[in-house]
């Protein structure tokens, strides 16, 4: 019997024959925390008297969730992290570098890696064929110290994609549609594995968006094979030597298979207050929006900003609708400036935030008031996430966000293309 992507990676990293349901101890290739989970990770590390890191070169701290620090308390947390990084000699990505998951994709993740991060969206690196998953501070602190952790090898749901995305439809619509159909706990304790001939039509940026939201269906990982598109991306990032092919065996065993035709997808929106509460954008026409937010580890990449800028170029945001854009990394920001996207966005009335998580989790840079509605390109719309528990968060693609910014109400981007 062949193996799924998850079984292959965990077999290699545990040095055994890992099969769904087994409990294994696996070597970890990268462990990290960010500025809202890092302080507790450091304190757990210290409370265990672990003294030193297993390997400082595979240990990283990121400053993205509240960056630059918006208040004294978080400034103190940043200071604690900088001191720890200096003493321990680990990698540090300070304020302005970008969102941890984007930086992991750009600079650190490799096919066949096992990656753990004290952040649920660590699954993003599954786009590069890495078994990447979110954990809490205690788990990550122990990985910092030992360089390994335990896993239950997950069963896998195979997602077979075919065809090509139509104009105005983005990878975000694919993953929202998927979560809407299987539910917010549709893949709990399981792996999502993507395959099918349609994968050749999904760029690495698309795959990052899809893998990023695997956790919104409860999945442990969202895995893509490592193929020509992975190789081209790593080459562009000047990391060609990190490429290794990775494919699932033809006779691997899957819990179930779901077929998705990319051509049949339409712009999709998750309504408050759950990610699986999906509807088509056109069905929500007339829903007034106070703030549009484009960015995050889900949709803050160059391709996302390009999609928004192309729609907004030469147009203005609706006077009642604020437009906030946060590039996912410094590299994205520089590339977006170079391509003229930032100019188009600012001329359309956007405010540009520093690379980081920005408004995504209600700490700064676009906190919502009671009764306000936001159309966000992020991955989560839970009650209270972006500020007031009486605010309403809708999730959509960068194209849907740009179209919505123009009209001031939820708009199918195909109406403004």
């Amino acid at each position: 019997m062949g193996k799924t992507l998850a079984e292959k990676i965990l077999s290699k990293k545990s040095g055994g024959d890992a099969r769904a349901g087994d409990i294994v101890i696996a070597r970890v290739d990268l462990a990290f925390a960010q500025d809202t989970t890092g302080p507790l990770t450091i304190r757990q590390f210290q409370s265990g008297n672990f003294k030193r890191l297993a390997n400082p070169k595979i240990t990283a701290l990121f400053f993205d969730h509240a960056a630059p620090s918006p208040n004294r308390e978080l400034a103190n947390d940043h200071q604690l992290m900088r001191r720890f990084a200096k003493e321990a000699g680990c990698l540090i990505y300070d304020v302005g570098s970008g969102v941890c998951h984007q930086l992991v994709a750009e600079s650190l993740a490799k096919p066949w890696d096992v990656i753990v991060g004290a952040d649920s969206h660590t699954v993003t690196a599954g786009a590069l064929g890495a078994f990447a998953t979110g954990m809490g501070s205690s788990d990550v602190a122990v990985v910092f110290a030992l360089g390994k952790t335990w896993f239950r090898v997950p069963e896998t749901i195979k997602i077979l994609v075919s065809g090509e995305l139509p104009p105005g439809v983005m990878a975000k619509d694919l993953v929202l549609q998927l979560i809407g159909s299987i539910g917010a706990d549709g893949a709990t304790y399981q792996a999502l594995e993507f395959g099918g001939e349609g994968l050749t039509n999904l760029k690495l940026s698309d795959r990052l968006t899809v893998a990023n939201m695997a956790v919104e269906a409860g999945a442990k990982v969202g895995l893509f094979p490592s193929d020509r598109i992975t190789k081209e991306y790593l080459n562009r990032q000047k990391r060609g030597e990190d490429f290794q092919p990775l494919t699932a065996d033809y006779d691997a065993s899957y819990q179930r298979t779901i077929n998705i035709s990319l051509a049949a997808l339409e712009p999709t929106v998750a309504q408050p207050h759950q990610v699986d509460n999906t509807a088509l954008a056109r069905e929500l026409k007339g829903t007034r929006i106070d703030q549009v937010f484009i960015g995050t580890c889900t949709n803050g990449r160059l391709e996302d900003i390009a999609a928004a800028a192309q729609i907004l170029k030469g147009r203005k945001r609706h006077p009642r609708t604020r437009l906030i854009v946060a590039p996912a990394s410094a590299q994205v920001l520089l590339d977006a400036i170079g391509a003229g996207y930032i100019r188009s966005l600012v001329e359309a009335g956007a405010v540009i935030m520093p690379p980081g998580c920005a408004a995504c989790l209600g700490l700064h840079q676009g906190v919502l008031a009671a009764g306000e509605s936001c159309l966000s390109t992020a991955n989560r719309n839970f009650k209270g996430r972006m500020g007031s528990p009486k605010a309403f968060i809708y999730l959509g693609s960068p194209a849907t966000a740009a179209a919505t910014a123009i009209t001031g109400e939820i708009t199918d981007p195909r109406e403004v293309l």
């Binding site: 409990i23 205690s138 788990d139 956790v215 989560r380």
Partner: protein
């Protein structure tokens, strides 16, 4: 035997219900952070909960963020254990890693305010108010071991490594 009162919640209680992201600035000030436990699910929970009580959820309890502060503030509130039909995986590991029991069982028959008695070794829950008895599924051995050592950090301190 654990004894206490049930606080019943619905399905899909997220980590933002348990401890909203907007309070991240209090994460290094745990006594202040803990005052907001379950705030967006029940604003009065922190005032009502007493030591030994149980949180009873539906399906997919604890979905969302990896913040370990979610089970941490529940533990700080004195909650004995979380009972739910299913629990999101990161929250599940985080709770066990802090020594907070998570019991997977059918919670439909338990109502808010019911008096519960939980026999951890026997794997049973007795609802004194309704007179019903429930059983809960056992944890994988490694999780049970971590729980019995009081959490992951004490477990590693004792063994120096993971044990299968």
């Amino acid at each position: 035997m654990l004894k206490g009162r049930a606080f019943k919640f619905g399905n899909n209680i997220s980590t933002d219900h348990i401890i909203p992201g907007r309070y991240a600035y209090l994460r290094s000030n745990l006594p202040e952070l803990a005052k907001h436990v379950m705030e967006d699910a029940d604003p009065d929970f922190a005032a009502k909960v007493t030591k030994g009580d149980f949180i009873v959820g539906g399906s997919n309890f604890g979905l969302g963020s990896s913040r370990e502060h979610a089970p941490l503030v529940i533990k700080m509130a004195g909650v004995n254990a979380i009972l739910a039909k299913s629990v999101a995986r990161i929250f599940f590991r985080n709770a066990i890693n802090l020594g907070l029991p998570v019991l997977i069982c059918d919670t439909d028959g338990i109502d808010d305010g019911d008096k519960l008695e939980v026999d951890m070794a026997g794997g049973t829950i007795y609802d004194k108010t309704s007179g019903q008895k429930f059983s809960f599924s056992c944890l994988p051995e490694i999780m049970l071991d971590i729980l019995n050592k009081g959490g992951l950090v004490p477990y590693i301190q004792k063994y120096g490594d993971f044990r299968l």
